[in-house]
Amino acid sequence: MQMKRKRILILDDEEDILAGLSDVLLEEGYEIEGVTNANSILEQFTLGGGRDFLPFDLCLLDFQMPAMDGLDFFREIRKIQFDLKTIVMTADTNLARVQMAKSEGVAMVMQKPVDVPLLLNKIETMLS
């Protein structure tokens, strides 16, 4: 019996990071939805009362984005899918907002630059 492929949402405003991580995760056999713009993906999900929304197994989230802050996005996406497991990647040293994200249910916070093999390992563990 073939397992259903796990769906991962990647949100990062930097194209190169998005492309790199997407390719590596695709290679690992995940189904990837990668976006650089938080607003557009939220709009897409809520279109038609959210009829087209397919739940994700994991969200990989950049914490600093120009259009929408990672924490705000996390709050929004949780309204759509409350049990979404989320890994936050942050370059920030001011941890107050990161702590807040953790207290609100972010599963893991990783300091940028995130080592790619380590990230793959964490994702595998979280989804197994």
């Binding site: 790199g20 390719d23 590596v24 290679e27 370059a91 940028k112 630059p113 790619v116």
Partner: protein, 373 residues
Amino acid sequence: MGRKNVLRDFCVLIVEDENDAIENLRDILSLDGYPLKLVSSCAAASRAIGEKKFDCAIIDWTLPDGGGDSLISELARVQPDTPVVVVTGIREFDTAISALRHGAHDFLTKPINPDLLRSILVRLVERQRHVAVIEEAKQKDQQRLLADERLAAMAEMVAGLAHESRNAFQRCYACLAELSLDLGEMPDSLILVEKIQTALDDVHFVLEEVRNYSKPIVLEKRHFDIRKLFEDTWMEILDVRSSPNVPSIRYNSLNYFPPAVLLDFQRLKQVARNLLENAIAACDVNGSIEVSFDLAPYPDSMIILSVDDSGKGIRKANWEKIFTPFFTTKTRGTGLGLAICQRIIEAHSGRISLQESNLGGAKFCMEIPLSPF
């Protein structure tokens, strides 16, 4: 000898038109060794103070071409630090008071009493010496403030740099991961990718170390067992080491040692990690490390911690530089570890020093005063 030196540097300007008084002043002051400049009019005095700095001016209040008051004003403008002693006729107390109000330091009446003159000048020399000490302290203070400001600005810059570079590193890592996929069938190229990755890791590590070092230290003190901190840190170091062969370690508690001390846990952990890792690096696998804990109760309660190793030790020539940022004797490492340790210990009002160890290698000794609350 010392006194003579001071007097030789203490130049006195004498503005006097009466021959008796001139003779008198010259005899006394030359005998004592003060360098003198004698002039007999306001005009000549103006020229003199325009040409040379004087440490004191003795001015007759009534001169052929003007009054002492205007000369005092001029001197105050040209050489504001030069004290003035005014010479007046006997029973001219109104003049003396007027001179003092014009900013004169002291006054003498004619005929000049040698002892009085001497004591005034000795006091002025003393005063000048004190002013010099105060000025020097002020200057040092100012330099320190400037240095602090510069450091704070640099710290901010480095923090910004580290932050910005993290995203750039992330881009590199992501692209390299992607590239590795494309190069899957080309092992030689993959090795190159790995090398780039390692080089990036190194740069990232250095940046983070510098950021860590330049960050202002704000202590968050809490009570904890510092002996357990060293033991736990040692275990953590062993956990991530690839080789199980490490030097042996021994803990010594001398006399009574408090079960809990009030210090910054995270910062002290950083110190423990640095010192223990250095000790491991200095020893071979058969070596030994010793961590000692002692308490000096008097005059102020102070803990004394030391980390000894049986390694080769540090060359005497490098002892002074060992705490300097970016100084390192290792092939890898930023040379910031001990500099950070020193900053942390000093932030606790303590001291860290390098000594010779009885084990044969280096001994890092820390003395940290315990705050009572």
